[in-house]
């Protein structure tokens, strides 16, 4: 059913918003000084970023959004005060085949484990399947990120690929797990509406 009154960027406790070049670099710079945040979200070596470096990254993101048209980048805001609490990203979209990759993170430790990630993932999936009309989405998760694995399983993602020994962290070797969810599966879960 076509329901254009449904707000795509609004959930119960969080909402999606654009990047704010004035205030966000300071906040995200703080997150990057938390090595755990970096290592949960990214496979690259963790390194703290200055606000200036974060600002450069935002500019690169917006350039990529404009030029390549295969990246959709949202900041996650707390509804109560619109403050920045995380980011939600659809990237590497392959339009010919209708698939893309997703990634999300809640920045500050005190904002984690409150269901914000779940709400953001709901919005991101609805956007991917109802607005971008993707056929499927993929999420790639290091095996040590048990929270993320549980989140994707809860949303009906299927474990599709387990790349053995693909990661080395803290002197330990980990698998890299890839989860997939099809538009049809997501639609079934949501009684055909999303």
């Amino acid at each position: 059913m076509l329901d254009i009154q449904t707000q795509l960027f609004e959930a119960t406790d969080i909402r999606f918003g654009p990047i704010d070049h004035e205030t966000h670099p300071e906040i995200e710079s703080k997150w990057t000084h938390d090595a755990e945040f970096m290592r949960l979200l990214d496979l690259k070596p963790a390194r703290p970023l200055s606000p200036a470096m974060v600002k450069k990254q935002y500019e690169a993101v917006e350039k990529e959004v404009e030029e390549d048209k295969n990246l959709f980048y949202f900041t996650i805001r707390a509804r109560e005060d619109d403050r920045l609490i995380g980011k939600a990203i659809l990237e590497w979209i392959d339009w010919t085949n209708g698939n893309g990759f997703l990634r999300l993170g809640i920045g500050a430790v005190e904002d984690r484990r409150k269901g914000y990630g779940s709400q953001a993932l709901s919005l991101l999936l609805r956007y991917a399947f109802n607005e971008l009309n993707l056929y499927r989405v993929t999420a790639v998760v290091p095996a040590y990120n048990e929270g993320a694995m549980r989140l994707f399983q809860k949303f009906g993602f299927m474990e599709e690929i387990r790349r053995r020994q693909a990661l080395n962290r803290d002197g330990q070797i980990w698998d890299l797990v890839s989860f997939g969810l099809l538009n049809t599966e997501w639609r079934e879960q949501n009684n055909g509406r999303g």
């Binding site: 690259k44 392959d94 085949n97 499927r136 790349r163 053995r164 693909a166 990661l167 997939g180």
Partner: protein, 186 residues
Amino acid sequence: MKDIYRGSLVRLANDSPEIMAKAFVKWDRDTEQHRLADSDPAMLFSEKKIKDFIEKRAGKNPQAFPFSIRTLADDKLIGGVSLWVNSWTHADTWVGISIGEREYWGKGYGTDAMRLIVQYGFIELNLRRVSLGLHAYNERALKSYEKVGFKMEGRMRGEGLRDGVRFDSLWMGILREEWLAQQEAK
């Protein structure tokens, strides 16, 4: 020390952008070749565009190791194979291969080139694993990769769409210890 560029049917080489661009212009016109090797839409690029692309890439990206494949028998350029080290810290790499000259399909040339580049990844770059992906309909590639020692690690459901048909992609990997055990058994 052994010649790590030389196999039993082919050798790994590096040809000038002019030669590679000419070859790719020819190979790109064979859409079956393209659709076996690639998931991007089949496209025709000019020789100049391909040459610019190769030149721009050359030497700039320390993570890319592209080789051309030449036969030992008559030094014919038949295809290309590349490693892209996706992470030095995690010691993992992607490999991609295509045999552009279709009369060399199914005769062991690709398998021989793949063996060479996997060996290069393990004994020259000292990686821990080599990874690859293929279309589920590419049965010849699957057999070849299994022969080299790649193990199946998963399947992305319906990742591709061609001729109106959804198809899966397959994902494989070979670990350093598996490769070493294989060498010892030889």
